[in-house]
């Protein structure tokens, strides 16, 4: 019994490792095409994020927003909604947080900082809530609305940070870079390790993961959200207001993404600037799914995603290949890992595939 359990474990870890190896093998082909040495490149990809304080802290710097966005994704997916509006929600959260922080000069951090986070979360929740409301009331599909809302948010964000929120210095010097002024330094999140950019936002994100877990699994509201996700018809019969919970789910998802925006402002950049969302709205989805849509699983998954993003970036610099190769290899890794998922869920599928593709040898080493 015990052994069998271990054996399954070994197989599962092996499958994941195999998927990763497969992706890297194909990726090596691209590296060779780009006239670089795959071994050196991959050496950096793996060791980069883990072999120095720089790599380690920068990984967590990326894991922070990934985790926050991912938690929102988990809430919405569990409630039966696909939220691909994370990018816009992050931007709304970031700009609201920056605006509130700049409007409160001299207010002690103990009071101001919660307000900053709250405003970021509320702005994100509002933006996500629009998509929720459109779906619940007017049956507008959320994929359509969030794709559109992302574009709209990007323009509103730019309008605000180049308009009346712009750093007065940028106007004075005529450089006009679209960014807000620096936040008062009392509102900067503490750096966890001196000489690095890792800030307390990471701890906040981890704490929120626990909160989201408790919320989804231990509270009646969380239960109803998941019930709506599991079967809207049945929930309706059970007397749950599906439209209310649809709006709530999207608002919560947007709120988490908005929180990510606020954390990036207060923890990392100390102002709102261009491209602050950095694609986390999409990579957060991947992190959430890697974490099996479980808030606690999302913690290691977002660290893994963060390491992947950083390691690929470091690899590009180390072997001087075109940056495009990084995106291609990340795409491959996602494809391979997501494909191997079937073998994790259903080990017997391995044998079915074997039989199908290698009918001669198949089935001999069966191991369900």
């Amino acid at each position: 019994m015990q052994w069998k359990k271990h054996k399954t474990w070994l197989i599962q870890t092996g499958i994941l490792a195999g998927a990763l190896a497969g992706a890297l093998l194909v990726g090596a082909l691209f590296l060779v095409l780009a006239k670089s040495d795959p071994l050196t490149a991959y050496g950096v990809l793996f060791s980069g994020p883990f072999s120095s304080q720089f790599g380690f802290t920068e990984t967590l710097v990326r894991a922070t927003p990934l985790l926050l966005v991912g938690l929102g994704i988990i809430i919405s997916f569990r409630s039966g909604i696909i939220n691909i509006g994370g990018e816009g929600q992050i931007l709304m959260g970031a700009v609201a947080a920056a605006a509130v922080a700049l409007a409160l000069p001299g207010v002690p951090a103990l009071i101001a900082l919660p307000l900053v986070f709250l405003s970021g979360a509320l702005a994100g929740a509002f933006w996500g809530g629009i998509a929720g409301w459109l779906k619940a009331r007017l049956q507008v599909n959320e994929i359509l609305s969030t794709v559109m809302l992302n574009q709209i948010a990007a323009q509103i964000y730019l309008f605000l940070i180049r308009g009346f929120l712009i750093d007065p210095q940028e106007v004075a010097y005529g450089t006009g870079v679209p960014q807000t002024a620096l936040l008062p330094d009392g509102l900067w999140l503490e750096r966890l390790i001196p000489g690095s950019r890792l800030h307390t936002g990471f701890l906040l994100a981890v704490a929120l993961a626990v909160v989201v877990y408790i919320f989804l699994w231990k509270t009646p509201i969380g239960f109803r959200l998941r019930a709506v996700g599991a079967g809207p018809e049945a929930s309706r019969y059970a007397g749950i207001s599906v439209s209310l919970y649809t709006v709530l789910a999207m608002a919560l998802a947007g709120g988490m993404a908005g929180m990510a925006g606020a954390v990036e402002v207060a923890g990392l950049h100390h102002r709102a600037l261009e491209d602050i969302s950095a694609g986390y709205g999409f990579s957060g989805i991947v992190a959430a799914l890697f974490g099996r849509l479980h808030p606690i699983g999302a913690i290691p998954a977002s660290i893994l995603m963060g390491a992947l993003i950083l390691g690929a970036d470091m690899m590009q610099r180390a072997v001087n290949v075109p940056a495009a190769i990084v995106i291609a290899i990340q795409g491959l890794i996602i494809l391979f890992v997501v494909s191997s998922d079937i073998l994790l869920r259903k080990p017997e599928y391995l044998n079915r595939l074997k039989k199908r593709f290698f009918p001669m040898k198949g089935g001999a080493q069966s191991n369900g």
Binding site: Q139, V140, I143, I285, A323, A324, A328, L335, D341, I342
Partner: protein
């Protein structure tokens, strides 16, 4: 402003709207077949980028735009096959595999461009082919009948897709597989096979949509030239409620709003340009919101089919 000028501007807006709608139409019609069969492919953007690059590259090296278009169809088929392997055979979560396909296509197109072209280079590309007689019709002529061949093709595909989807036995199979795969399976329709066919067809159209941007419109390639158009195309499938005519309406609405806002800006009406830029997105949401009604979607959308399982 005198009448001649305002008329030429109006023709300009409408013609640009038709031109801009072309890539959306091709990619969205393709995605419609894919989703009708029960799969959603979020990787359209990546397929478009590959089609855009290879269409451009072959046109550049072979000197023949039609070879370029064929290549973009071919690479689309390959990408569709890959998506089928991942999403149909291996039953992977479709949202996430689509993002993977998108990143693969984006990265590879950028890489190949750097390795084999190396900088902004122009091609001859497709030239407008006015349709004899029809092009002479006032207003309608320059708006509809002075485009390149991909534009005509995209619009002709609308009725064709409708016929295929609703009037052929293959279309019936596609719809069955997307709504009640279990029943289709019982009747001897191979769910996986139909889904593969749709993915390949849909991705070929997405590849062509990419080529419409490079070989057809701009006559060059640049990194990430699609700039999010693949995602808009997916949204337009939902807008069009999985119906070719709805998709046509959505594509035209979006593109016309876009060309209109450019014109509004050019004429210098004073207001923040951001408002103009977001106009097509807002118009699309509002249009869908005010026409709400019975919402139908392929019932098995996003659900990998596993024989003997329900759900």
């Amino acid at each position: 402003m005198d009448d001649v000028a305002s008329q030429s501007i109006m023709i300009g807006i409408l013609a640009a709207g038709i031109r801009l709608a072309t890539p959306f139409l091709l990619a969205a019609l393709g995605e419609m077949f894919v989703q009708r069969s029960g799969v959603y492919n979020l990787g359209v953007e990546g397929v478009m980028l590959m089609g855009a690059f290879l269409g451009f590259f072959v046109t550049l090296t072979a000197g023949n735009p039609y070879m370029g278009l064929l290549t973009s169809l071919a690479i689309g088929a390959v990408m569709g096959l890959l998506m089928g392997l991942v999403s149909v055979t291996l039953k992977a979560e479709q949202g996430i595999s689509g993002i993977g396909l998108y990143m693969l296509g984006w990265g590879l197109s950028g890489l190949f461009y750097r390795l084999y072209v190396g900088g902004i280079t122009g091609i001859e590309g497709l030239q407008p082919q006015p349709i004899p007689l029809l092009e002479k019709i006032p207003v309608l002529g320059p708006v509809l009948f002075q485009h390149n061949i991909i534009v005509y093709l995209a619009f002709l595909l609308v009725p064709l897709a409708w016929v295929v989807l609703f009037k052929t036995s293959w279309g019936l199979k596609v719809r069955a597989v997307g709504t009640t795969p279990e029943a289709a399976d019982t009747l001897g329709v191979s769910v996986d096979k139909v889904r593969y066919q749709c993915l390949i067809l849909g991705s070929m159209l997405a590849g062509l949509a990419g080529a419409a941007l490079t070989v057809g419109n701009t006559h060059m390639f640049a990194d990430n030239i699609t700039a999010g158009r693949g995602f808009i195309a997916i949204a337009l499938v939902y807008f069009g409620r999985w119906n070719p005519w709805g998709i046509l309406a959505g594509s035209l609405l979006f593109s016309m709003a876009d060309s209109f806002q450019l014109f509004v800006q050019v004429l210098g009406i004073q207001f923040p340009y951001e408002l103009a830029v977001i106009m097509p997105y807002v118009v699309t949401i509002i249009a869908l919101a005010v026409t709400f009604g019975r919402v139908w979607a392929p019932a098995a959308l996003g659900r990998p089919y596993e024989r003997g399982s329900r759900g």
